[in-house]
Symmetry: C2
Subunit: 310 residues, 2 copies
Amino acid sequence: MVISGSTALESDPLMLIECIPNVSEGRRPEIIEAMAAAIQAIPGVRLLDRSSDPSHNRSVFTLAGDADGVERAVLALFERAVADIDLRRHRGEHPRLGAVDVVPFVPIDGATMADCVALAKKVGAEVAARFEVPVYLYEEASADPARKNLEDIRRGEFEGLAAKMSTAGWAPDFGPAAPHPSAGAAVIGARMPLVAYNINLATDRLDVAKKIAAAIRHSSGGFRFVKAMGIKLEDRGIVQVSMNLTNCEKTPIFRVFETVKREAERYGVAILESEIVGLVPSAALMSAAEFYLQIQGFKPDQVLENKLKN
Amino acid sequence: MVISGSTALESDPLMLIECIPNVSEGRRPEIIEAMAAAIQAIPGVRLLDRSSDPSHNRSVFTLAGDADGVERAVLALFERAVADIDLRRHRGEHPRLGAVDVVPFVPIDGATMADCVALAKKVGAEVAARFEVPVYLYEEASADPARKNLEDIRRGEFEGLAAKMSTAGWAPDFGPAAPHPSAGAAVIGARMPLVAYNINLATDRLDVAKKIAAAIRHSSGGFRFVKAMGIKLEDRGIVQVSMNLTNCEKTPIFRVFETVKREAERYGVAILESEIVGLVPSAALMSAAEFYLQIQGFKPDQVLENKLKN
């Protein structure tokens, strides 16, 4: 791919890392715009997507580039966010711990999970040193099972952070042992690409969607990398199995789809359609084509577009 | 994608055209190497693949770049081929009309079929003017139904070319009214990407493969953009439906697969596996994923890699 203005990319054109920082500001357009501009000012980095939710009072940026570019973009974002956001005055529906709340690094192309873990630690140390914001590592970047899960780290939120940080086991991985007065703490880590995937059922029976969600999600005995819930789409009079697929390599989309389809049959229900919300890595869809077409011995570099990148 | 050394690409980074010239030389490595080097010397052009068949005495190059780069590469290839190949001494199993026998341009990314037709005509006129080689336009570049099909144009081969060119309806589109003495004529045109796709059946019954091939191919009443034949894979004791898919947008892979599967069931035969030979555009596999996963409202720019290109 062409990333305009990239210089770092020319030295390592094959490494591409995605980063999806979540910041605690979703209402003041000028503050959000300044953060987006800070990211876009970094050569070799592309801001792929941005969305703000006023009721959550939160914005999510999706950016991509090589390790060096993404690091510089995240530091530029912290600089703006720490200056402009005060958690003491922040209210919103979404739980949060800090001004820049969560920063996951995701390996996309030519980058490994190990690259992203190393990057998370480097950026974490830098954030703590430059902005005096304590940093917790999470997911693949955390070695401690009790501190892998974002929800566990964030429990108690900004308001409970000072107390939490002084209890055993909750010293941060980097930075001061107490919260930054206005910016709280940040959770930085590495994870696989997350795919938001929904399957709509040709029924209005919410119990069916809930039973199927329970059957496939990890927390109740289902697939290792599936989070799922059954919800009603009131306006359409149907129900949906709403999912996050947290590792499409190990729990592929087609297996989830076929399992939902089979479970629905058990209740005499058909699949109406599915939808992918937001971005999906091409490999996640390629693997579905390989499965259904029973393609043997297929290599990624047989895809014309991949061949052109290498 | 990054195409190293490209300058033209920076002015029009979204146009990517594939070109697959077939030349009448598959035995002399130094001649083949010189032709490959001539292509590779053009900035902004990537030589993606090359294969030579000594019994056919023929080589196929696959290259890609923007319109300007691909044009220059084809002219550089003609220069070498016209100098080094003499059809009067050429023997091989594959039918041929000229030193550079066939040159299809294929729209890949940001390029339309109209772009490729225009490029075929521009290159055809230039080849005729520079090398005094007569040029026939074919497929989408030809307006005459009798001169669209490569096999129709090539019938009679180099040996029958002088006689053919003097008959009504066979004046070339560009260049002299008689063959080049040593380089014959060239067939230049535009077409969709061609996907070589085979489906192996879990049986040794050749009649089943032949009946299925007849059912799906255009020439005997099947799909508009499918060429197919049934063959035996002696070493494995199975049979294969061997296909060329000449337009995967209009006749998608999944529809061909499902039809072969259904026809095979009629004979109590299962599909063992399928295979894609060589390159395939990612869109051809994406459409299969969309079909089988019943994905509604999917947009190409939801694919992370596509998003990065734009």
